[in-house]
């Protein structure tokens, strides 16, 4: 068996607004338009992924929240409807997906060996969280690849950001080891936004773009700083500044997704490509890809 590899690492935020505005057949509500900069960024990235040979999407989602350790989807097939509890007016999505349980079990075991608390989720009635559904739809609306779903451990919330980051880097390392051992080509997805302060009111027409802007200029400056570091391949500095970013920009990176991705990609020193940046109900969202092949070309 050949060695598996991570063929792409993606920061893929999950605002339901983007699926809503796209009007896919799976989603019940319909929209006129909206959030085009982000949606078109996702469209370009979809095309890129279509050109890549990969076997599985591994997604770490902020909206599967677990208290005791890191959990992994462990049921081979799910079919249900995902209703966003915060924006049910925008996202009621009928999904059907396959899970690569073998790879999930392998990551789970390697993380446990690394000293992390882990658990497989075997309940067939479980509803897959909307963060996972949205990020996966935006990258692969055909759902023709299996996924591995990883929860966001709330233990991360009990400790300071530095301690949390160390744990997520270890989970990322375990993920990379499992992918390599599997012989599979994996696309890794960190399903989080950057700055994450929302507006608490919604326009009568949600896609009325007159009202869409970043919540606070300070958030925007932080987002730009983080994106600059990504584009310059300065992942270690990104991680060093992450605790302050989380605190000062109310960043969803607190959920650990991006730290996990950096750990899995072994703290990339090659530039990331930013496909789009935009706000969604005040939060800062960036679509970013790390392509390990670009490291080989540049080295």
């Amino acid at each position: 068996m050949s060695t598996g590899e991570i063929v792409a690492g993606i920061l893929a935020p999950h605002p339901p607004h983007l699926v809503y505005a796209e009007n896919p057949p799976q989603n019940e509500p319909s929209a006129e338009c909206g959030w085009e900069v982000l949606r078109w960024g996702y469209e370009r990235l979809r095309k890129k992924l279509e050109s890549i040979d990969y076997d599985v999407l591994v997604v770490h989602s902020p909206h599967w929240r677990t208290t005791v350790g890191h959990h992994f989807l462990g049921v081979p097939h799910f079919k249900s409807i995902s209703v966003d509890p915060v924006f049910p007016n925008l996202f009621r999505y009928h999904y059907e997906l396959d899970v690569d349980v073998d790879l999930a079990e392998s990551i789970c075991a390697k993380a446990e060996n690394a000293g992390l608390v882990t658990q497989m989720m075997r309940n067939p009635d479980f509803r897959v969280d909307y963060g996972t559904i949205i990020s996966c739809h935006l990258l692969n609306p055909a759902w023709d690849k299996p996924i591995v779903g990883i929860s966001s451990s709330r233990a991360y919330y009990y400790y300071n950001n530095e301690v949390g980051d160390r744990e997520m880097l270890a989970l990322g390392e375990a993920t990379r080891q499992a992918v390599e051992a599997s012989g599979k080509k994996a696309v890794l997805i960190a399903s989080n936004s950057l700055s994450h302060r929302h507006f608490t009111e919604e326009p009568e027409v949600p896609e009325d773009m007159r009202n869409e802007h970043i919540y606070h200029h300070g958030q925007y400056l932080w987002d730009m700083r983080m994106l600059k570091l990504m584009k310059e391949g300065k992942s270690q500095q990104l991680m060093d500044e992450m605790p302050d970013f989380i605190e000062q920009a109310v960043s969803e990176c607190k959920e650990g997704c991006l730290s996990w991705l950096m750990g899995a990609l072994e703290m990339p020193t090659y530039p990331a490509e930013v496909y789009a940046y935009g706000s969604v109900i005040g939060t800062g969202n960036a679509i970013v890809e790390w392509d390990p092949k670009s490291a080989e070309v540049s080295s």
Binding site: T66, V68, H71, I81, D125, T200, G282
Partner: protein, 457 residues
């Protein structure tokens, strides 16, 4: 006599429902839930109103309005404990009334009624254990992740408004843990305990208050508790419950149970309204009647050229109109804004002479604390009224010069008209506003004069 017959505090983790046999603590909670269920049944309640900290919202507050939500629920963390099939009976009519009452108090709220909407574990557990046969219709409201205490108090008062308007005997249920620091490593359920001694001590202090019926004191203590013991969502559920039940300490409190659930503090407490107060309350600095909002950023279509620093203008849900509240004017004494813009016209609520912040009355109150008549200076009161009118107009982007019509209310026409009229002339002589002056028997606060004003926006 209020329609609120009882308040309950219950935990929202699934352990008492799904895994009681694994732990004496969880079994005790299940038994205590059953005791609370029996108390509800004995109360002849017609409605359960629930606030769950496990239903987060971002866009204001959401209220469940699906008459019969049905699903097989699995908790995202405790999935190995099993599935929870449910079919509940919700009071959709009350949900609509609650939503309208919340909006009338300036809150952003909406009902939700979607097939497959993910009802949270806390609500599911509470309804399965407190109302297993759906004998009593329920209503559930979300926990806004950004809401502060003032906003949550208004949400509780809105629930009370709707309950009284609907005239339904109601049990209010706050689904919340006390301390919420859970173990992050697997534990032996038989050895479950509160995760720290400090959290345990804080929980027990709160429970002392509950046992004495001091719900309002717990509400006011919540922020300190949260800082010390990782309170569940800042104990917002207690803020809501205290406001809904009337913001006092007059309850017969019963701490039915207190147990650990994976390290968190899980208490079941009942509070039945009583005539006996534990003791006097402190002044509550968060007690507002109307929520003006603090985020007018979406209101891009309105004129915000006034004193933006202290103005909270929020869309009221109708095209083209805007509600205005300002901290620079005295706090309204009811559920109404300082002003409302309709097109190019600005309508002010009745304005008195009280001073913003202190509520002091220039010229003195018209009666003493014991209710006996007091001497007062109507000139000073009139001047203060007009200055307050001016403040509200300017906060709304208007000015005294744009006043169209004034209605003046005096409690003693014979005594006060001449002095009032003299001050009025100083301000309004060149403005040309129409005016009507009425004698009335009393005003809501101990003041002698109030203005009702219409102006150009």
């Amino acid at each position: 006599m209020s329609n609120i017959v009882m308040g309950l505090v219950v935990p929202g983790q699934p352990h008492p429902l799904l895994a009681a046999d694994q732990s004496p603590a969880w079994q005790s909670l299940q038994d205590s839930f059953d005791k609370a269920r029996q108390e509800i049944e004995a109360s002849d309640a017609e409605l359960l109103v629930i606030y769950s900290t496990q239903w987060p919202s971002v866009i204001g507050h959401q209220i469940q309005a699906d008459p019969e939500p049905e699903w097989v629920h699995v908790d995202e963390n405790w999935h190995a404990m099993g599935s929870i099939p449910y079919k509940f009976k919700m009071d959709a009519e009350f949900a609509d009334a609650y939503c309208a009452a919340a909006q009338a108090r300036g809150l952003h709220s909406r009902t939700v009624a979607y097939k497959g909407f993910p009802i949270d574990t806390g609500t599911v557990v509470a309804l399965k254990l407190l109302n297993p046969d759906n004998r009593i219709p329920a209503c559930v409201v979300s926990c806004n992740m950004y809401a502060d205490r003032a906003e949550t108090l208004v949400l509780g008062k809105a629930a009370r408004d709707a309950i009284e308007a609907q005239n339904k005997k109601t049990v209010a249920v706050a689904v919340t843990a006390l301390s919420n620091r859970m173990f992050t490593q697997p534990i032996d359920p038989k050895e479950d305990k509160i995760s720290s001694l400090k959290d345990d001590e804080w929980n027990r202090k709160l429970l002392e208050f509950f046992a004495e019926g001091r719900l309002e004191d717990v509400s006011q203590l919540a922020r300190q508790f949260t800082a010390q013991a990782n309170g569940d969502n800042k104990l917002k559920a207690i803020w809501w419950l205290a406001a809904l039940m009337g913001q006092n300490n007059r309850y017969q409190g019963d701490v039915i149970d207190y147990q650990p659930v994976n390290g968190s503090g899980a208490a079941i407490v009942s509070l039945v309204p009583s005539t006996e107060a534990a003791m006097n309350q402190e002044f509550d600095e968060d007690d507002v009647e109307y929520y003006g909002g603090d985020r007018k950023v979406l209101d891009s279509g309105s004129d915000t050229s006034g004193d933006e620093e202290n103005v909270d203008a929020s869309a009221s849900g109708q095209t083209g109109d805007t509600l205005v509240n300002t901290n620079a004017a005295p706090k309204p004494v009811g559920a109404y804004p300082h002003a409302r813009r309709e097109g190019d016209t600005l309508f002010l609520s009745g304005v008195g002479p009280r001073q913003a912040g202190s509520d002091a009355i220039p010229g003195g109150a018209v009666r003493s604390d014991d209710g006996s008549p007091a001497d007062y200076d109507v000139e000073a009161q009139t001047r203060a009224v007009i200055e307050n009118v001016k403040t509200i107009l300017e906060a709304s982007g208007s000015s005294l010069e744009k006043v169209i019509d004034v209605t003046v209310f005096l409690i003693d026409m014979d005594r006060d008209f001449a002095a009032f009229n003299k001050v009025y002339k100083e301000y309004f002589e060149t403005i040309g506003a129409t005016r009507t002056t009425l004698a009335i028997t009393a005003l809501p606060t101990p003041i002698a004069v109030e203005f009702k004003v219409i102006a150009r926006a």
